[in-house]
Structure formats: C-alpha cells, structure tokens
Symmetry: C2
Subunit: 389 residues, 2 copies
C-alpha cells in the first residue's frame, strides 16, 4: 500500500521516529511512524535487528548505519509498502522503546534552577556557584523509566514541613511534574575515555520527551546532602517515539549564550541548542509552553561533561535535560514553579490546582521545525495519577 | 576428586560464595569457591542456569531455590567432585559476577557522615536534620561498576579550592576510597509496591565488598544541590565473590541503637546488623579496620526505604552501605577521614600519604563469623591507580 501522510502531519518523511510496538498475538518489535501508520521494520526490511523488543541492538550499530536505514526507510515509504507491514497507530500497543542502561538527569535551564533555588533555599543565592561552570546533574533510577500511558501511583514517603518537629509518613502532598527532553546514547564509550563535544552526533541516537515526576515534599526533606532520591525514583515517563537526531537538523540553534565562557572540554564549535517547543496539558487544558531553545547547556555539553571523568557510557543510556522553563511564567515546565511553591494556584478547567490531585492527567507534547519546511512532532508523554496504595 | 579445605580457611563449607569465572579457551560461567578451588556449577550440577556469564538468572530464582542449591553444593563438595569441574582459584579469571541493574549508594555510618559533614561543611551541624530519620542515599552509575583487579584511571574534572576564583580542569588531586559493603537484590519488586523490612532475606541474594572510589575535589565542587556525580561515577569496584546471605547468619547482630525510633516502615523485628570486620590495605600496609557492626542503618532498612515510594527493584540491583567507619581513627573507611581532609598525613611504608598517588594499590578484605565456629571471608576488592589520560 501507499502510505498517506496528511498535509501538516507532524509525522511526515522528515521525522520518521522509531518505537517498539506490538499487535494482538505478536510480540514487541521495532517500527517507524509515518503519518498515522506504524511500519513494521522487521517485516518491511527483513532485518533481524528490528525483530527485537527494544531499539538497543539497532542503536548500538552507530551513526553510519542509522543514516543508511533512514535513507532506506525514506525510499520504502515513498513507494509501495507491503500491507502486512503497516498498522494504524491506533491499533498497536506502544512499549518502552529502549532497555535503559544508566539514567542521568541534568538541571540545564537557568530559569528553572533559579526558580527552584528561590523556592527551596529562599535565604541563599538561587544559583549555586558551580551552576554556570558545569551542567549540574545526578543519576536517577533506570529501572523505573516507563513508557507514556503508564499510570503513576502516588508515592508515599517521609515529609517534614519546616514548621513540623519531626517527619511523618504518608502519600506525597506535593506531587509534581518536570517537562524535559531526553537523549539516548547509541554507541557508548569505554571506561577511562571521555566523549568530546564534537562526538555528540556520532554517539547519540535520538531524543524523547520526559516527564520526571517529582514528589516535592519527599524531595525537600531527603535531598541534603546527597541529592534527590525517593522524591524522583518512583517513576519517570518517556514518550514512545524516539525522534532521530537527523530529524532535528532544522531545529539546531546556538544556546542563549554562556558567561563565563565554559572550560575547553565544554566549548562547542557547532550549535546544539534545539528550537523545540513543548506544551504541557493538565487535564486537557494547556498550562505551559516550555521553550527548549532557552536551555543554558546543550545536550552535547551534557554528554561531554558526563564522561569527562572517564565514566563509560553504554547503548541505552538516557540523559535528560532537567525541567525546561523559559523566562515567562507561562513557560515554566514544573507545577512548583507555575504555582510558585503552591502559593499561587493554577485554575485548571475551573478548579484550583497547585500540585497533582488523584485522577489528574498530564500530557506533554512537542514540535520542532522539520527539514522540509513544516514541523515535526515528538509523540506525547502521558500519565495519570492513581491514589497511593 | 575430594576438595581439601585447609584448617582455618575463610572459604569453608559455611561460606560457599558464588562468582563468575573463566579458564583459557572457555567462556565465563558460574562457580562456587571452596577452599582454594573453584567448582564449575554448570559442569558439576548439569544446570544451564549456571552456564551463563552472570549470576542474574540464578539470582532471579528466589530464596527457596538458593537454599536448595546451597544444600546440593554442600553435599556435592563433601563428597567426590568430578575432576573436570574443579579449577584452582589461581588458574581462573574472575569476572564481574552480576549485570548490575540500578546501583544505589547509602550513607549509613554515623561516624562517617559526621566526619564528612565536619570536613565538607565546617560551619554547620555535621549531621543533616534528616540523617537519623532515614537512610540517606543516592543513585550511582551502574555502568561503571567493575570487578576487583580492574585498574582505575585517575579521573579528570573540574575542581575549585575555596581560595580559587574559578574552577580549573585537570586530574583529581584528592583521589580517595570508600570501604563499603554491597547487597545484591535477587528477586525484585513491582512498580508501585514497597518491600517491607521483613522481606529482606527473601529478596537479597548476598553481599560483596565495595570500593566506591571518590575524587573529593571534583565532588566538593559539583555536589550542591543534586549530590555526587562525576566525583564518584568514574569507577566502583566490587569483590568477585558474592557471599550468600545464608552464610552470614552467625554475623547477625542488632544495630547499635537508633534514637529517635524510626518510623514504622523502618522498624526491624529481627536484627540485620552484621558483625563483619573489614581491613583496608594501602600498598600492602594495613591502614584501617572498619567495623560493619557500627553501622547505624541495617541493609534491611535500606531496602525498605529504597522501595517505600513504590520504586521497582530488579534482579541485579546493587545497593551499598556507604563508607564504613567506626568511632576510632584506625576504623575509618576513607582516606579523607584517616588524613582529616589531607591535614594529617598517613605514613604508608615510610612515605607520607594523604590521598592516592599514581601506582598506589588498595585492597579491602573482610571476614565474619561463620556458622561452624570459625570465620568466613569475602574475597578481596583490589584496585591500582593509573595516571590520568
């Protein structure tokens, strides 16, 4: 069959994101999205690397191979595709597209870091002295990265408000989101070697949307001195479609400007800022439009930093940008910022909200300029809050 | 053949630790150590679960199966073992025994946390307000966990001394160790569910020694507000032999006492403190004897805490205790404590040392009471420092 792509589709031939899907009675395997169809790559290309339940084997094959496959897919879907290899996206189940190796979360938005600093440490300078010298980051829990659509059970834990004498145990009362962009390492690097900023496009396979669910009350009590732990580790959702780096060529922009100039190992010769526009919807109502182009540190700088100490990287490593917040209030990518620590409720469908209520649903989506003049999309990351168990 | 176990061996029939070994021309597979011999379990028991390059498949089978196999091995090595299944430990190569899923590092020694607080934050209370309410921990880099004997390349990164105006880039000048005990999860738990303290022995397969190599200068500059990252992520070494939890029955002791009483989800009904004595050798000279029995939080409490927010756990999850330090100076498990931030050098073989020099070698070993009246051993974790690249 010939695959129709509607005018203005976010999934035209300049996008071609990869995912892992299944249909009733068949196991998970790799597909590519074209318009509203999923093309079964194992069936269409006859290549066993796609007959697997994750993208990892393909991701490990490297940039040259990724480029070849992208060309082959472009040819394939421009012509006749065997009927048996095409499934409407509505008829498939989408799975976690990768086996996540290590998961790192950065903190690369100056606006977000400044807002959080004001909220968590009102008596000190909002940005720490290190913040403009290095992309601050930490390791998260790879085993709780889940695919869009997975319900999120409200986490329980220890919380202590500043006016309470001792912590209490119970469901989080300040459950929040963080709208982020995540990057997936395809070809890793060995222990003892560093990845230069110039190797970003050689190493990184593509990008996904990330919702780094955050229990702010648990986080505020636990995070000194070793950083966030249970306030984050209960779940991190990612979008099912991995947008190849090649599809983001037209989105590349310089970062907004770095002062002081970063150390040589963080100095970019090519721009890897990205002009991606996110949208955050809360129970169906758009509440924020975080602009990725405002991020202080680029993903190439993050990868160079993450490995400069000789840490190995592996196929399937996921690293996320940290919350994307712009300078305007309606560009903030976390509810703790939108509601200013809960003091300025947001009206969602006529109801006042500060943090997430049980039953609430959050959808993060994003678009970027495509290479054919229109726009491409990321596929959304969606999650609904279930009551604490 | 009949396997001889020398009188006083740390690897008698009350130990039987598991590891992954290879011999020239054959691939890695599971073995058990008896005296100075390694028994090839796939060959001796004819079970394919041991014909694999990691312990994960066996670890996933659960407590009942671990107990059955331990009984079978005890019978086997008490009688005649086929010659082809026995290899002298000196003739085999030992490999990383598990595919590490997530790696978490705790901070469970009150003496260590107090010492580090004094050194890193001399102007504040050494213990944070949360410390006696929960086992503080954070996620580390699973992909850089390496087996004993792996050389450690000195990491480079950003360091800034308090009297310097800006950070500089270069090899760490304050490279340190942390002597720890690590626990390996055998049977995991699902997203949204918590593991009660009572389930520790059902879930945890065994223990290893851990050296959490730490670049103190990199760590001090980067760690606010999100915790240690590159100061730790370049390498974490573990011992090749996994001591089964069943072998530690005689080592169980109550923790030293917790005040305030922990919240109910952290309250133990059975003691899971462990009377394990570690030894740290620096270039062959013993410099410290950290006592595990002094740890404030037990490993059962750590696992309960790590999952109380509903975070899933997986086969192969590794969580470590944090540096083991006792109340005495000669019981401190990190060189930053032994040398008090570099101000009180340690004399090692006649040479003054504060932090690690290139070429230095550190060996951590440990023993515990066995169930037959003698002692059992952990097998050492060894590492040598190579110059920065």
């Amino acid at each position: 069959m010939k695959i129709d792509v509607a005018e203005g589709s976010l999934f035209g031939l300049d996008n071609l994101p990869y995912g892992v899907f299944s249909t009733p009675g068949t196991g998970p395997r790799v597909g590519v999205r074209v318009g509203d169809q999923v093309v079964d790559l194992a069936a269409a290309l006859g290549d066993e690397v796609f007959a697997q339940p994750t993208l990892n084997a393909f991701m490990a094959q490297g940039r040259r191979r990724w480029d070849e496959v992208r060309e082959r897919i472009t040819e394939l879907v421009s012509g006749e595709v065997p009927d048996a290899a095409v499934h409407p996206v509505r008829a498939v189940t989408l799975h976690l597209p990768v086996a996540v190796a290590d998961y790192v979360d950065f903190y690369a938005s100056e606006h977000h870091a400044t807002n959080l600093g004001r909220l968590f440490r009102p008596d000190s300078a909002p940005l720490m002295p290190n913040w403009k010298h290095l992309p601050v980051g930490y390791h998260g829990r790879a085993g709780t990265v889940v695919v869009s659509g997975t319900d999120i059970v409200r986490p329980s834990g220890q919380r202590k408000a500043p006016d309470e004498a001792a912590p209490t145990f119970g469901p989080s009362r300040r459950l929040d989101i963080e709208a982020e962009l995540g990057f997936l390492v395809g070809t890793g690097s060995e222990l003892g070697s560093a990845v230069p900023v110039e190797e970003f496009a050689e190493r990184v396979f593509g990008a996904v949307l990330v919702n780094d669910w955050s229990a702010r009350d648990i986080q505020a009590w636990e995070y000194v001195p070793l950083g966030p732990f249970l306030g984050k580790s209960f779940a991190t959702s990612i979008s099912p479609w991995v947008v190849p780096l090649a599809a983001l060529e037209a989105a590349r922009v310089p970062t907004p400007g770095q002062d002081p100039a970063p150390l040589p190992y963080l100095t970019e010769r090519e721009p890897w800022g990205l002009d991606i526009e996110l949208t955050v919807s809360w129970n169906g109502q758009e509440v924020s439009r975080p602009p990725y182009r405002e991020m202080y540190w680029s993903p190439a700088q993050m990868l160079a930093h993450m490995t400069v100490n000789g840490a190995a990287s592996r196929t399937g490593d996921l690293y996320a940008s940290g919350t994307i917040s712009g300078p305007e209030k309606e560009q903030r990518g976390a509810f703790i910022e939108l509601s200013w620590g809960g003091r300025e409720p947001v009206v969602v469908n006529g109801e006042e909200r500060t943090f997430l209520a049980d039953g609430d649903e959050v959808v993060i989506s994003a678009t970027a300029p495509g290479t054919r003049g229109g726009r491409i999309g990321f596929g959304e990351v969606r999650g609904r809050i279930l009551p604490a168990r």
